[in-house]
Amino acid sequence: MTATSTLPTTAPVKAGTPGRPGLGATIRWELRKLRAQHRTKAVLLGALLGPVPIALVIHAQGRPPKDTLFGRYATTNGFALSLLILGFAAQWVLPLLIAVVAGDIFSSEDTHGTWKTVLTRSASRAQLFTAKTVTAVGFAVLTLLVLSASTIASSVLVGGHQALTGLGGQLIAPSTALKLVGASWLTTIPPTIGFACLAILLSVWSRSSAVGIAAPVVIGMVMQLVGAMGGVEALRPFLLTTPYEAWHGLLSAPRFTGPLVEGLLTTGAWAAVTLAVSFALLRRRDITGG
């Protein structure tokens, strides 16, 4: 630091009122941070390339994995293969991919001690909360779309596109099957958003990225287990993992969409509650550390 520096001698006196950032600018800032992190790229790359070896390995099995839905035809039919991977992904892969960003986006500010940095600018807590939530949810959906496209493409390339036997025993013509498989993957968007919101809550609450990322995966697996148990089926509608199975109805004959609607309500409720609690926690929080 030398005395030759050009200090803005007039600026501080005349200015003094920085503008209020729009939500767009706040989101842009979050996206910039996301882009600069390796984990973001790793998740997207994993979603893009991961399905290829998985499809190849399952396709090469001598005995089809019959105990999973569509496993019976997974080695002989590309559509069945992609649906088998969908069932598998919903168990813990999707919650994990989502949580890598959603479970970290709040607690990373704790990790780097930057809450005080961003909260002493001109963005309100509500604005930062909205921007982070939109970014995390947007990233979750993007990851899901990449994973879906990659899985369907590699499965069909590896396993072929013959007519598919649906969940009503009916034969589904390849063109219809492709649409239904695509639609099935898309039905996982609501629970994916639900899991992103859960990860956000855990990240805000724990202030720890480890909890924010690991806990949603563990909770997801516990919910899977509870959902598969007999005797407590009354809980199934409340579980965040149940909507991950709503696509079954699309492939049945006759088609049914009741679980889809129910799943939409369930995830809506989860998202609303988790986000409300998260925001309340963040708004009331005293930033003492960092």
Binding site: K66, A228, E233
Partner: protein, 254 residues
């Protein structure tokens, strides 16, 4: 530390709350015999028609099969599990029903309203079949997965099939007094098995034994005294309720 304790406490509370909801509503499963009966007949008709197409059998369509089923899990007839059995009859002129009038399908039903059905090989063949071009292909009807709509009708279908009586003993072993027993199993079906077994040895009627078995019940029936030196016994079964083979001949040991 305090934070994680609070978290754990809240999670436990939520779980306890949900658990009591589950207990209070008594399971609340959407898996019922009525829904399975409707779903299984529909899905089986589809896979069986697929099989017929592969085999080159003409005239078999899902509608032409007129499949009817009766499902039972040996208990409350509600809830997932692997103990579901369904009796199903269908109409295919090239593949008549056995004497009982139905085949027995074993179902593994999951809590997510999907199930895997295993068909009786006597009716639908084995894992692989030879198609009309002579290739060995997967038999779509041998085992199949299906899901039913949890919102579909839960009205009873009213389909009943009589229980089938099976004599499980393969040889008679009389005691020193010449008394022998046969084990009989009354299978899944409506109203159990009622009737009598008439025993004949070497053309001589020895008398008859009545039976009265509930569904899924086994019983040991003691036969009339067999004369010494009897080599085999003919059992003729008559039914008031239930179905089964009309008779069998069992060797006598000792």
């Amino acid at each position: 530390m305090r934070r994680s304790i609070i978290t754990a406490a809240v999670v436990l509370l939520v779980l306890a709350g949900l658990g009591s909801v589950a207990v209070a509503t008594g399971g609340g499963s959407t898996v019922t015999s009525a829904r399975l009966e409707r779903s299984l007949t529909a899905s089986f008709s589809q896979v069986y028609s697929q099989q017929a197409r592969l085999l080159g059998h003409r005239g078999v369509t899902p509608a032409s099969l007129h499949a009817k089923a009766m499902c039972d899990n040996g208990g409350s007839n509600v809830g997932p599990g692997s103990s579901w059995n369904c009796l199903m009859s269908f109409h295919d002129p090239s593949n008549p029903m056995p004497t009982t009038g139905y085949g027995k399908f074993e179902l593994n039903v999951h809590s997510n309203d999907c199930y895997t059905a295993g068909s009786p090989s006597t009716l639908v063949g084995f894992q692989t079949i030879t198609d009309k071009q002579g290739r060995t292909v997967n038999n779509p009807a041998y085992e199949f997965d299906a899901c039913f709509d949890p919102g579909s009708s839960n009205e009873p279908t009213g389909v009943t099939f009589p229980s089938a009586l099976t004599i499980t003993t393969t040889a008679l072993t009389p005691d020193p007094q010449g008394r022998a027993t046969v084990a009989a199993l009354c299978g899944t079906g409506a109203d159990g098995c009622v009737g009598s077994i008439e025993v004949t040895t070497h053309g001589k009627k020895l008398g008859s034994v009545p039976f009265h078995l509930a569904e899924n019940e086994t019983a040991k029936l003691t036969l009339p005294q067999l004369p010494p030196g009897t080599k085999e016994a003919d059992l003729a079964v008559t039914y008031q309720q239930g179905v089964g083979s009309s008779g069998t001949t069992l060797p006598v040991q000792g």
